[in-house]
Symmetry: C3
Amino acid sequence: QKVRRKANQSKPPPTPKTLNPSSGHSPMAAVRVILPHPHLPIPSWRPQLKPSSSYPRRAVAAPASLSPSPLTASLQLGDVIEAQQFDRQVLNEIFEVAREMEAVERGSHGFRSRVLEGYLMATLFYEPSTRTRLSFEAAMRRLGGEVLTTENAREFSSAAKGETLEDTIRTVEGYSDIIVLRHFESGAARRAAATAEIPVINAGDGPGQHPTQALLDVYTIKREIGRLDGIKLGLVGDLANGRTVRSLAYLIAKYQNIKIYFVSPDVVKMKDDIKEYLTSQGVEWEESSDLLDVASRCDVIYQTRIQKERFGERIDHYEAARGKYIVDKKVLGVLPKHAVIMHPLPRLDE
Amino acid sequence: QKVRRKANQSKPPPTPKTLNPSSGHSPMAAVRVILPHPHLPIPSWRPQLKPSSSYPRRAVAAPASLSPSPLTASLQLGDVIEAQQFDRQVLNEIFEVAREMEAVERGSHGFRSRVLEGYLMATLFYEPSTRTRLSFEAAMRRLGGEVLTTENAREFSSAAKGETLEDTIRTVEGYSDIIVLRHFESGAARRAAATAEIPVINAGDGPGQHPTQALLDVYTIKREIGRLDGIKLGLVGDLANGRTVRSLAYLIAKYQNIKIYFVSPDVVKMKDDIKEYLTSQGVEWEESSDLLDVASRCDVIYQTRIQKERFGERIDHYEAARGKYIVDKKVLGVLPKHAVIMHPLPRLDE
Amino acid sequence: QKVRRKANQSKPPPTPKTLNPSSGHSPMAAVRVILPHPHLPIPSWRPQLKPSSSYPRRAVAAPASLSPSPLTASLQLGDVIEAQQFDRQVLNEIFEVAREMEAVERGSHGFRSRVLEGYLMATLFYEPSTRTRLSFEAAMRRLGGEVLTTENAREFSSAAKGETLEDTIRTVEGYSDIIVLRHFESGAARRAAATAEIPVINAGDGPGQHPTQALLDVYTIKREIGRLDGIKLGLVGDLANGRTVRSLAYLIAKYQNIKIYFVSPDVVKMKDDIKEYLTSQGVEWEESSDLLDVASRCDVIYQTRIQKERFGERIDHYEAARGKYIVDKKVLGVLPKHAVIMHPLPRLDE
């Protein structure tokens, strides 16, 4: 269900052919994508979560743990901490479930699925994010599950009184079957997963990672372009602070013959850890300052917002970085016909 | 279900005969109104919301769109943006459903209705309002539906990062079947409805309108007084900033032989657009500064709070306006016996 | 269900034998307690809440009102305002239900109980508390009920516009079947219960009481030590501002041959009202500044956090009080083997 949900989270951005040239302000009119699948019956797949107290202690970044089912014999639920934890086999199974879940979502308006009936998910958000939080909660509710929600745990909880994340996690896992954590510190999800005996899903940890967004992004690329091996991908914008581009780079590196172009202002360049990981995985990458040239070569342009809130006091750096690389009509003009532009949102003027 | 819910939102205010003259502080003891209807079986009525992707594009301020059902053959669900979108025929049908829903609500304690099972409502509140938000959410839950909630979307969402309302709406409609929007800007609901392909309900847009409150108010008048044609209505208090009086004026204008008295401090007089609309609809109105005189002529006194938060820095204006027109024992003394006093809450010392 | 829920709220703290001496930072590793009970079938017990409008007016601090059922013939649901409202007979019945509910909770992962189906609980939190709020909401959801939630009613509601608590309660009771109230003022729960015609549960009212936490604490003592009569209890830390210790003292006083030791810095000593109550109930108590001596005599050490937020400007007092009495290895060394250490959380360095 994770992936089905994420297919909603940030709607797949429009392909160039959906652009409305008459809307002057933004050339990227967000268009609702009509899914091609007919309504299918509710699947028999249902996660086999055990009572938390009988969970075996799992390694933190273990591959998504897996439960037998007619549909996905090897797919179980476990922690989702970082994009690199998945291998191709698990990704394929997730995408299969995702495709099935698209149909469930289509058919869910007015009908309540029971796939997750009786399960209780806690969304623990230390950093507010309506888009991400509602995406998880909608998925849970569409599938018959229940939700405990915190909109701003940082300000409104024991964290404000000095409680450690670990103590909070131990309490919340007593109430729920799975925890979705958004936190302002890189590594928080890993710490939470090390503490919890129930699964933890990382919904973004500071400038760290955002693996479920990356799962969605890779799934969207596969659906829009038709394949993942051999993709040419341009990552544009804030590559230093954008956790979605970091997770996407880790995930796409699982595929063959990938080429990645980094296009970003100097102050927010992609960090070395990602570059070294890509090199170690045999992924070709290069940095470029010529967005038009990159656009003409890519299957996917993945554009991100320059995140003002991560610049702190350095407003001068923010102003310098903002608006340097913008997808405008010139960029659209050189894009290959089959290419798509993606954006994890929110977008400003990029 | 909209009206049933609103019948809860602000409890019908007490008629004069329920007053407790010994409670010195406020002469308007809020009294729980016992509904006269016996418990009825759950109705067969159930909205026929289609999957959002197959919705036809609807005109923004179209009359509440309509679906066939045994109960209300012409009533469908659509955007609810402003009070004037309704005509008498639609209002009558809404009131019929409301009456039936009162019985459902009575019988719902311990029994879960399934009228809205499988539907997911997102409450997107950019301006906090516990009363209004909980009223919608309680209605949805009483009728078997599910809720995605945001308590303070302005501060805790992408809006704080500069995202447009339109982008947010496009995301949220991907998660839900209907959006209830409270916003701080007049016209926001109209913009949201123009963007969304699922229904949008305006739960108050700045100093603009609050149409569901007006539906409730008109329904309450009908239930308490027994008719709507020929009503004499005194609107008292902050008529410049009060969106509920604006929506109520628009809605009551649909009926015959209405007479409206405006009683307000000079700085918060009813605006010209409403006056012109009433004149164009053949509704008699006059301004008065004599609350006692008005009270002696009215079927309904509709009292509102002077809204400090809409005065901004002009505390002097607020102090001048506050407490000028107060419903006290003298006012109660001149009210006709059958008359009722209504207040959309919250109330201070008025 | 109240007690079952609270058994989750603050996990029973570890007994000394679960300590991990190698974790230098805190000697109190919070350990998940495995409940000994096998999975039991869902109980037939189901509260007989009547429609709110037909509730008889109840005395404010009446003992938890009671409804006939096969399991607990005399247990009904009513207001829960303060610990002293319960008598031993009612407590025994609550603990019986609690024990049964532990089994329901164990079995609830993936199965939805219907004990509270069709009931709607409003959590009205004027003071944020994620732990307490989620504990009530999780309990309600595990038992099949629905929830209306406010994370920060003080800031985000009509209270900010000057509405009285009574008016807010009258509105919210129109939407729900039971209200869980957390408030920043002592006595707020009593005022709410005097206003509401539906049950009100006090989830903490300023420095007043926290009776459901005390129910949990007493239940935990009974489960861990095996009895309640004859218990020797050390209350350590902030006894002036800690509402949980106040409620616990009131509740444990219902039992025979209780001995209580107060160990606290001078500025946050236990207040006289509690001491006088204990004396009037024949409970032995003494104040001590020797934690080691007290620890060697007790069955239960109940440690609380020095609450910085209740000191206001007096940071010097806070610094003096903080860290004076800490449960460290020396304390653990003198504890009787069967003794347990409890903490209502959050904990800092105590």
